[in-house]
Symmetry: C2
Subunit: 551 residues, 2 copies
C-alpha cells in the first residue's frame, strides 16, 4: 500500500460523509466553527506565531529565491506587516506547473486523501490563519477564525467531495457487448477524466482563503496543477494553506509544485501575464467586475465571482424591530465588505403592514438607522461586528458620495476599538432615497452603505430588485413578507433572475451566511458571477471525459 | 393523476434503465436498429408516405401560415422534393417560445414521460423519417434508417436520462438544522433547477435528426422551450420529430410551442437573427467551423460540434489486409460525410511490421487503395455503403484539389446506383503524400478523400495526429499497434489532445460509430466542438441551481 493509499484509508469515511452531505444538503461539517472547540493554548500560539512572523521571510514554501517581496498592511495596525514571499517569474511558475502535470496519474482516491490530509494540517493552523486574516483583511478575530478556518475548510472539502463523486460516477473500464444478430461485437472500453491543464486561482483582498480554496481544491481533485495568485494585500492566510499542502505532497513523494504561490505587488502585477499564458486553461477569480469581465473574455474555462447589488424586499413583517435588527447586523458585519451583504432595502411608498400595525416608509428608515446605530455603538458588539476597512478607497468612495442624491438617515458614528486604536473604523451610512434616484443605488457600493429605496408598491420593489439582479448581478435577496402569495411572487421572480431568496430571517439567521454542503454560493446565472460553490458544473468543467476502445 | 403522470408510470422503468445504462456504460437500447425488427408492411408504408409528401405542405405541425417555404433537393433524384413548411418570423418564434416558458412548471418526472412518449411516437415513424433522410442527405436507406431512427432516439433518450438524473440529484426541500451550542438554528431550504431560457438548436445537412435531438431533448428535459432551426436542405426528417412531440404536448394539455420548427432558405437565412436574439440563452450547433466559432463568440451558453481532422495511426498490425478493409469501410461509408470518418492515415517512411512480415509505405498505400476499390466496386456493397453526396460543393472541392500536392493512389471510380440513376456518386480518392505537405492534409477535407501521410517514424505520426487534434480538432483516432508500450504512448498523447482512440478495429467494429450510453460523441476538449453527447455538463449548463431559505 502506498503512503497515499493509507491516507485514503484514514480519510475514506470523512470523504463518504461529505459526498452524502452534498447530496442530502443537510447540515454537515467535520470542522467545528467555534474557537473554543480547539485546545486552550492554541489562541496564544497563533497570536505569537503571527507576531513572530512579522518582518520575516515566509520560508514554509521551501522555495529558494533571490527576490523576496510583500507589501501587506494590517488594517488594525495601519502599518505594513513586513512579511515577504519568494518571487518567481511567470515563466518559472508555468514551467514548474507543467512539470507537475504528472499529478493526474495519482489516482483520484489518493488525490482526495492527500487533499483532505492537507485540510487536517490546516486545521492545526486555524489560529495562525485567523491572525493572518485579521491583519490583512480587517476582519474581526471571530470572523477571521471562522471564515478563513473551518468555513474555508468546509468549502474545500465540498469541492473535493464533488470532484471525487463526479470522476467516480462512470466506470474506468467495461466490457461492451453489442448483439449483432448472428454474433456479438465485443469491445473493451475505458474512460478517463482528463484534466484540462494548468489552473490559476486569483484571490481577493477580503476573503483570502474562503474565496480561494474552492477553486484551488476543485482544480486539484480533478488532476490539474494549480497556481494561486493572491491579492498582493492578502497573501499570508493562503500562503499557510499552500505550505501545508506542499508539505503533504513532499511527504508522499510527490512534486510540491502541484500547488504554487505566485506573489506580486500592486505596482508590478503578474495576474494578466499568468491569465493570458497559453498553458493556463482554467481560471478562478474573485473580485471586481471590470477585471472579472476581462477574465471571462479570455476564451478559457473560467469561474468568476464578481460584484452584485443585493436586495432586501420589505413587503410585510411580524415585527419591524426584529427585521431592522436582522438587516442592521447583515449590513454592519465586516462593515458591509461581504459580497453577500445587503445594499438596497426596497420599501413601498405607502409603507408596510406589521402585526403591530402600519409602518410608514420614514418609520422603516428610522428603524433601520436606529438598529444600526444601536449595534455599532454597543460596547461589546460594535467593533467586533464591524471589523476594519480593508482598503482606504472603500471609505473614500462612500464619503465622496455624500448623500448620494437622497437623505442621510444615519451618518458615520464616532466609535473606537480599544484593542486596536488605529483600526480604520467606518459604520454603515443609511441613505433614504426615491426609486427614481437609480444612478445612486443601482451600482454596487462596496462597503458600509445601505439605501432605503422608496418604491411605488411591493410589486415595483420586486421588479427593481429582479431587474438589478439581471443587469448588475446579485448574490442574495432577503425578503420579508407574511403573505404567501407575495412570497411566491418574490421567489419566482428573483429565481428567474437566478438569485436565491431568504425569507423572514431573524434571530441567528443572516442572509450573508452561505453554508457549505447546503447553500450554493453565487448561482452563476446572473452578472455577479459565472460559477457556483459547489455545483456539479464547478468541477465537471475542469476535466474532459475521454473514452478509448479496444478490439 | 394527471395524464402526464400516467405517462410517467408507463415510461418509468425505461427511464430508470436508461439512467442505469448511462452510468454503467454497457450496451443498451430500447430501440432495435434493424429494419427487420419492425412490422413487415412498415417499409412500404414509409416509402408511400414519402412519395405522397412530395410537393405538399407539411401540415403536421398544425400551424396556420400565409407563407410556405421549402427548397430541399433529393441527392438521389437530383430534383427538389417540393415539401413546404410554414414560415414564421423570428419575432413570432421568440414570442411563442416566451409564452411556452411555463414548461418549467411541468415537474421533471412528467417532462421526462412526455418526452419519452414522443420517442415512442417517433418509433412509429422510423420508415417515414428514413426515406425523408435519404432524400435530403443522400444517406443510404440502411444508414438513414438507423442514424435518423433508432440511433437518434437512443441519443435523445440518453439526454433525457442525464437531465432527469441531474435534476433529481439534489433534494427539492429539506429541513436544515445547525447546532449553535445553546440552541439549534433551523431553516427550511428548497432547491430549484431553474432553466436558462429559450433554446435554439441549429441542425446540419447530413444528420438532420441524430445531431439535432440530443440538444433538443437536453434543453427540453431541463425545462427550456426549444426552437429547431434545421439546415434549409434537410428539414423533413426533424419536422416529423417536432410534429410528433407537438402532438404529445397538445394531447396532454400543454402548449405545443414548447417545441417549434423555424424554417428558412439559403438565400434568406434567419439563423443569426435567432442566435443573436437576447431572449435566446442556449444554442446547440452542428456544422462548419466558421459559423461554429461565431456561435461560440456570442457570449451565450453554447454546445457546438464543428469539424476536425480525424487520424489513423498505423504502427504495426497483425494483418494489413484486415486493417485496409476496416479503414476502407470507415472512409467510404456515406462517402466520408460523417464527422467521425478518418481522413489522414499516418504511416512511417520505413513502413510497418505485421505478422506476415514488413510492409513498406507504398505497399500500405496500395492495400488501402485496393480495399477501397474493392469495396466501392462491389455490386452488393458499393452503392449502399457510399450513399450519395449531399452537396455539389463537396465534389467540387475534392475534384479541384487534383492530387493535393501528392500522388493519386486511387482516383474516382466509375460506378452506378441502378436504383437511383441520378445519384451524385463519388468514391474516395486516396492521396499518398509526405508529412511536409502539411497544407494539404491539415485541413478538414469534408467528403470522400483519404491522405496516406509518410512520417519520419511512429512517434512522429503520433505527434502530427495530436498536434492537428489540438489545433484543428478531432473527433476520432483509429490506431493499429501490436506493441503495448506504443499503444500507451498513442493513448496518452491523443487523450491529452482530448481525442478518443480506437485500437485495432477490424470485423464489425468501425471507428465512425459512436454508441449512445457508452461512447461520448465529441469530447468538447479540442477545436472540433465544445460539448459532448452526453456528459453531465451537457445538461447541467442548461439550468441554474437556485436555493431558497425560509426562517
Amino acid at each position: 500500500m502506498t503512503t497515499s493509499m493509507s491516507l485514503y484509508t484514514k480519510h475514506e469515511e470523512l470523504l463518504e460523509q461529505a459526498v452524502k452531505a452534498l447530496h442530502t444538503r443537510t447540515y454537515y461539517t467535520p470542522y467545528p466553527e467555534h474557537p473554543k472547540a480547539y485546545p486552550a493554548e492554541a489562541n496564544d500560539k497563533g497570536k505569537d506565531w503571527f507576531a513572530g512572523m512579522m518582518n520575516q521571510d515566509f520560508k514554509e514554501l521551501n522555495i529558494e529565491s533571490n527576490s523576496w517581496i510583500g507589501e501587506e498592511v494590517s488594517p488594525y495596525f495601519q502599518t505594513g506587516i513586513g512579511v515577504t514571499y519568494p518571487s518567481l517569474s511567470v515563466d518559472s511558475l508555468v514551467e514548474n506547473a507543467t512539470n507537475a502535470k504528472t499529478w493526474k496519474s495519482t489516482p483520484v482516491k489518493e488525490r482526495a486523501a492527500l487533499l483532505i490530509e492537507s485540510l487536517e494540517r490546516v486545521k492545526e493552523r486555524y489560529f495562525d490563519i485567523a491572525y493572518a486574516t485579521m491583519h490583512t483583511t480587517g476582519q474581526s478575530f471571530m470572523m477571521a477564525f471562522q471564515a478563513s478556518g473551518p468555513h474555508a475548510n468546509d468549502r474545500a472539502l465540498e469541492a473535493i467531495a464533488m470532484g471525487y463523486h463526479e470522476i467516480n460516477r462512470f466506470p474506468s473500464e467495461t466490457e461492451w457487448v453489442k448483439p449483432m444478430g448472428k454474433f456479438d461485437l465485443t469491445l473493451k472500453k475505458t474512460w478517463k477524466a482528463e484534466p484540462k491543464g494548468i489552473a490559476l486561482v486569483i484571490g481577493c483582498s477580503t476573503f483570502p482563503t474562503w474565496n480561494t480554496v474552492p477553486g484551488m481544491y476543485a482544480s486539484l481533485i480533478t488532476g490539474n496543477p494549480v497556481i494561486i495568485k493572491p491579492h498582493p494585500k492578502a497573501i499570508l492566510p493562503i500562503a499557510v494553506v499552500v505550505a501545508e499542502l506542499r508539505n503533504v505532497l513532499v511527504e508522499n513523494g510527490l512534486n510540491p509544485d502541484i500547488i504554487q504561490l505566485a506573489v506580486d505587488t500592486v505596482s508590478n502585477p503578474i495576474t494578466k501575464q499568468l491569465a493570458e499564458h497559453k498553458a493556463v486553461k482554467l481560471i478562478d477569480y474573485t473580485g471586481g467586475n471590470v477585471f472579472g469581465d476581462y477574465i471571462e473574455s479570455l476564451n478559457k474555462t473560467t469561474f468568476t465571482e464578481k460584484a452584485g447589488v443585493n436586495s432586501v424586499i420589505l413587503d410585510s413583517a411580524k415585527d419591524i424591530k426584529s427585521v431592522a435588527q436582522n438587516i442592521a447586523f447583515s449590513a454592519s458585519l465586516y462593515s458591509g465588505q461581504m459580497c453577500t451583504a445587503p445594499q438596497n432595502i426596497y420599501v413601498p411608498e405607502e409603507g408596510i403592514e406589521t402585526e403591530e400595525g402600519h409602518v410608514s416608509f420614514d418609520e422603516v428608515t428610522k428603524h433601520v438607522a436606529a438598529a444600526i446605530e444601536g449595534l455599532v455603538n454597543h460596547p461589546k458588539m460594535g467593533a467586533g461586528t464591524l471589523g476594519g476597512i480593508q482598503n482606504d478607497s472603500t471609505i473614500k468612495r462612500i464619503e465622496d458620495g455624500g448623500n448620494f442624491g437622497g437623505t442621510l438617515a444615519l451618518g458615520g458614528q464616532e466609535i473606537s476599538n480599544p484593542e486596536f486604536e488605529n483600526t480604520r473604523l467606518f459604520t454603515p451610512r443609511v441613505i433614504a432615497t426615491d426609486h427614481t434616484n437609480k444612478e445612486a443605488y443601482s451600482q454596487e457600493c462596496f462597503g458600509p452603505i445601505v439605501f432605503v429605496v422608496k418604491t411605488k408598491n411591493r410589486n415595483h420593489s420586486v421588479e427593481i430588485a429582479a431587474e438589478l439582479a439581471e443587469t448588475k448581478g446579485a448574490l442574495t435577496c432577503l425578503a420579508y413578507s407574511t403573505d404567501s402569495d407575495m412570497m411566491n411572487t418574490i421567489e419566482n421572480r428573483m429565481n428567474e433572475a437566478f438569485t436565491p431568496v431568504s425569507f423572514n430571517f431573524g434571530g441567528a439567521a443572516f442572509v450573508n451566511q452561505h453554508a457549505a454542503f447546503s447553500d450554493f454560493h453565487v448561482t452563476g446565472g446572473n452578472p455577479a458571477g459565472n460559477a457556483s460553490f459547489t455545483n456539479p458544473e464547478y468541477v465537471n468543467k475542469r476535466f474532459v471525459w475521454v473514452g478509448n476502445r479496444y478490439a
